[in-house]
């Protein structure tokens, strides 16, 4: 069976080259994951400090001066921001985020909300436009365009894809995006802002989750009574006004960072699996190939011997 032998050889070669590619992709993701992970970790002290500060200030302020960002408003419109990746080949990452998004949207819609979905990363966008936003005309906008036209960020039932890549999120991006949502919330165009993204736990575990970021839920105050009331300058109210928008931007930024780290983690383990599978497959093919080769030789020998005997 020489034709079969040739086929087998071809398959072995192709499996080998696939293995090489997946291995390279794994190495790249590992390097990127390292960076993304350290970004997440390095950003932590600030966000801890900020939420601690926000909690403290709100505690001092008490009920007397409620900030508009803290209060639920009348609007039934909700914006759901879904963070996914631009590229595939990262295992169940995008599928999990999309599933979580669909679940969240369904919940919101069944409780009478009008949902506007803003996708960052086109993978979830593709799924959502197929499964949820069938009749909708999706809007594509870069971050700048989206911020210039607030209707792309919420208010009606709609689907928007932000085309600006967020694979290296900067605080500036998060801050501007947060400002956009803040404005919509303050003018009561939207009553709620929900983030759907993959929480980064480790390279192997990413947990898709939904978080309501607007109205801002006051951070849990630090335990233990503050012994001495500090001096507040210029005033507690002004400080709260300065801190809350930053708190919101930071939540967004943290989510963006975690989403990126999750993506690389998911891709890394997916590519690791793929490499392992390819290795297994290669070994099996190799064995089949050897057997076929041996069989071919044996047949040939038998033919020669029986030919000689016949003489």
């Amino acid at each position: 069976m020489p034709a079969n032998l040739k086929d087998l050889k071809g398959r072995i070669k192709s499996v080998k080259s696939t293995q090489q590619i997946t291995k390279a992709m794994k190495l790249v993701s590992t390097a990127k994951l390292g960076r993304a992970q350290s970004n997440v970790v390095q950003a932590r002290p600030y966000s801890q400090g900020l939420s601690h500060m926000a909690g403290r200030l709100l505690e001092v302020l008490g009920e007397s001066g409620q900030h508009p960002l803290l209060q639920a408003n009348e609007s039934k419109a909700v914006t759901v921001v879904v963070l996914s990746s631009e590229r595939g080949l990262c295992g169940g990452y995008n599928a999990n985020v999309s599933k979580q998004a669909l679940r969240t949207i369904e919940e919101l819609e069944s409780s009478g909300h009008t949902v506007h979905v803003v996708c960052i990363g086109k993978k979830a966008f593709q799924v959502l436009s197929r499964k949820w936003g069938k009749g909708l005309v999706p809007r594509l906008a870069s971050l700048e365009d989206a911020l210039d036209a607030p209707s792309t960020l919420g208010g009606d039932k709609g689907l928007t894809l932000i085309t600006t890549p967020f694979d290296k999120p900067t605080y500036d991006m998060a801050f501007r995006l947060a400002r956009g949502f803040e404005a919509l919330f303050e003018e009561q165009t939207i009553g709620k802002l929900v983030l759907v993204f993959s929480r980064f736990q480790s390279a192997l575990t990413q947990v898709p989750s939904s978080e309501t970021v607007l109205p801002i839920e006051p951070p849990v105050k630090a335990m233990g009574a503050t012994a001495v009331e500090p001096i507040f300058e210029p005033s507690v109210k002004a400080l709260v006004e300065a801190v809350l928008p930053r708190y919101l931007a930071n939540r967004l930024y943290q989510a963006l960072l975690e989403a990126v780290a999750s993506e690389h983690g998911a891709r890394m383990s997916a590519m690791d699996n793929a490499t392992r599978n390819a290795k297994d497959l290669e070994r099996k093919l190799q064995i089949t190939y050897q057997r076929a080769r041996q069989a071919a030789i044996t047949t040939e020998l038998i033919e020669i011997i029986s030919g000689a005997e016949a003489l």
């Binding site: 600030y46 400090g49 500060m53 500090p230 507040f232 210029p234 400080l239």
Partner: protein
């Protein structure tokens, strides 16, 4: 002077992306919205809004300068925690770029008439000025 034993202040500068500074120093000066504030050991607990300007602190006989902008400062038990939006270490400031940014901001301010735009341009201008000041201070021309 009276409190020589506890003559140190711990300074932590945090930006949204990372922890920039974590040192023990003799004194810290930073810009608040109400003007420059100096923190010496034993300062009363204080929470204040930060402005745009130069942050500097002495430790081990050397002075480090940084340009900072926006955020909140928390002073408590000889620990100064600054949560700033933007901070740049003086040696890494590109003065020519800062000067260009300053010109751009000044031009923008004189050209605009919408109030919000003027505020933004004014903010940019202050930021550029702070960067230039930090860089000049760092390069030796101390005139604080």
């Amino acid at each position: 002077m009276a409190d020589k034993q506890s003559g140190e202040v711990k300074l932590v500068v945090l930006t949204p992306t990372r922890k920039l500074v974590d040192v023990v120093c003799d004194e810290v000066y930073f810009p608040s919205t109400l003007g420059r504030l100096g923190i010496l050991p034993g300062h009363a607990a204080l929470v204040c809004q930060m402005g745009t300007g130069v942050l500097y602190f002495n430790h081990g006989g050397t002075t480090t300068f940084m340009s900072v902008s926006g955020g909140v400062a928390d002073v408590k038990d000889n620990v100064v925690t600054l949560l700033v939006d933007v901070a740049e270490d003086a040696p890494s400031i590109d003065v020519s770029r800062a000067e260009k940014a300053l010109q751009r901001a000044q031009l923008a301010r004189s050209g605009r008439n919408v109030e919000a735009d003027i505020a933004t341009a004014g903010h940019d201008e202050a930021r550029a000025l702070a960067r230039i000041e930090a860089a000049t201070l760092h390069s030796g021309a101390r005139k604080v």
